[in-house]
Amino acid sequence: MDTNQSPTSSAPSAPRSVQFRKEREASWRELEDIVQRVQNKSLSSLDDRDLQRLPLLYREAMNSLSVARATALDRLLVRYLEALCAQSYLAIYGARRPSRRMLWALFVAVPSEIRKASRELLLAILFFAAGIAVAWSLVDRDPQWFHVFVSPQMAAGRTPWATTESLQNTLYESRQKSGDALSVFASFLFTNNARVGLLAFSLGFLLGIPAAILLFYNGLVVGGFLSLFASRGLLIPFLGWLLPHGVPEIFAVLLCGGAGFLMGRALLLPGPLLRTEALRNAGLRASLIVTGAIFLFAYAALFEGFFRQLIVDDVLRFLVALLQCLLLLWWFYLSQKQEQKDLAAENFEQEPQTWSLQASPLGGGK
């Protein structure tokens, strides 16, 4: 067992790791200093020289770490190197500030995510439509049902016992309200709707059940109103009143529901993945969809708060609703074009556009 031992090892001289450390300590200290500055501020606060040194020093430290792990018996040294490498790794790879390009990429990525989740979206439409159908048929048969589906605050006088004229007036009343009162209305609508939408998404991971309930419930409310106005022959004016803001708003509700189903499905049917991994994949996709939905909610609230009170012409209202549909389609078209462009670029460069583990942000390392 002593065959490999050199005879000098019994003399009280320094172990190898002491020499090892002496040779490299200066560069570790330099890295420590640079990384500390990155931690306190950001990567962009470094000057050119340090920025050039950082990846070199980092690789050196990583090298030292793997050597130390294998050959050094100084636990403190190994721990120091582990911490130093971990810090530098975080400084280099940990986080990147979003650029304008990333935000644009996010904007055009939303519709393509929505298209990929079309099955979930279809399910969301189904639940919403079921809510409408159930409420419509029930209220049609017995107006008493209306109260079950629509709370008094929401009905605000629009009940089966109101006269047709008063119902008609609610559609066309151009409230002579000042802009600031309308802005309160709009902002309330936005936050309230967005909150409901977020709830549909975030509770969706529970097998999608809460998302289904929320969609169905919202469908019931819309169905109740539809049935009420249809029974007075006011269906077309009511749609004119609803659709200008309803197109983006209902679409956003459906999106949130779909995002919830996406998560629910990941939990229920993770496929070959671990449930954690499936949930993460679904969560990343769903978060994009929900972000899109939040902006739609904000946009819809502006229309609901201001536009609805200011424009009272049926034709104009339907035109605006059509415009909303076109805008949504344009968004989808934009995203598809960008996607094709990315795909073409990808084929050309033989390299994925997205960040992969092999590509280091500081160049090289492939």
Binding site: N4, E32, L90, A95, F190, S202, T276, R280
Partner: protein
């Protein structure tokens, strides 16, 4: 001299995750303990509350100064409604985005968010993990008051939602790594920011030790293994912190001398010098063998 938590027990208490960077050397990160995550959250919630109040004062001040309160009071109200929504939804997201994965609370406690797959922290992951925060923190807080106060038809909805939220709330207690749902959905970890401190190497000889004529034969250095070496290193570190007792050192030195059959007066006369030189020699011998791929974990292992 016996300080209860020796560092081995400290280390085993921590939960770590391993991440493989592109350089191919796996790195260990310490997962943030629940207690410090909770403190960070509490601090952030405090900041959120303060900033909400601050916003009210600023809005009032602006509108009073501009004489707009009568005509434009509605605008102030709508600013307030949207502002609260934005603060609530975006506070965590915003700071984690611009501050390398730390909110003020996390920074205070030395925590940060990283992506589970070792890639840079993406926007989507941050959005996802913070959207889920809604059902874990804010909504349960709000629902309690709502379910009791309103007493209207939609109270059943509140109660039901609260039931769901309870699942999310209690989730970390069942998860082996006590991750919250937001972390799972966003694909993130919350880790303790590592601190690198390089201490003086115990194997560097003091001048006193160099003068002493102590040497060991290869046979004497083939008895102990890495575990004993590390234990000795800990003892020597305690000497530096003035936590070691001279008598204890003497007993340790004698025990070692007996075990390796070292004959000489040093273990009794200058136990510290003996231990220091023995540590250096033992480490040198073990490291020498390590290069040849021979590990000796402890004294019971036969090489």
């Amino acid at each position: 001299m016996r300080r209860k938590p020796s560092y081995q027990s400290e280390e085993s208490k921590q939960r770590t995750v391993s991440i493989l960077p592109p350089e191919g050397v796996p790195l260990q990160f310490v997962l943030a303990p629940v207690s410090s995550r909770f403190s960070a959250l509490a601090f952030d919630l405090l900041l959120i509350t303060i900033s909400m109040y601050l916003m009210v004062f600023v809005l009032i001040a602006i509108f009073v100064a501009g004489g707009l309160l009568k005509s434009g009071g509605g605008y102030a109200l709508s600013f307030w409604i949207i502002g609260i929504f934005l603060i609530r939804q975006c506070y965590f997201f915003f700071f984690e985005m611009i501050w390398q994965g730390s909110t003020p609370g996390k920074r205070l406690l030395g925590l940060r968010v990283i992506a589970r797959d070792g890639r840079p922290l993406g926007l989507q992951g941050l959005i996802a993990r913070n959207l889920m925060r809604d059902i874990e923190v804010f909504i349960p807080l709000g629902l309690f008051s709502q379910a009791f106060q309103m007493g209207n038809e939609s109270a059943w909805l509140s109660w039901m939602a609260m039931g769901w939220c309870l699942i999310a709330l209690t989730f970390p207690f069942f998860h082996p790594q006590s991750m919250r749902i937001g972390d799972i959905v966003g694909g993130t970890f919350v880790i303790v920011i590592p601190k690198a401190e390089l201490e003086v190497d115990k194997a560097r000889q003091t001048t006193l030790a160099r003068k002493a004529q102590i040497s060991f034969t290869p046979e004497q250095l083939a008895i102990y293994g890495e575990y004993e070496l590390e234990t000795l290193a800990q003892i020597l570190r305690k000497v530096d912190e003035d936590k070691a007792d001279a008598d204890d050192l003497r007993i340790i030195a004698r025990t070692i001398a007996d075990k390796i059959r070292y004959e000489g007066h040093e273990p009794l006369s200058t136990p510290l010098v003996f231990l220091q030189i023995f540590y250096a020699a033992q480490r040198k011998a073990l490291e020498q063998k390590l290069i040849w791929g021979q590990r000796k974990a402890n004294k019971h292992q036969r090489s």
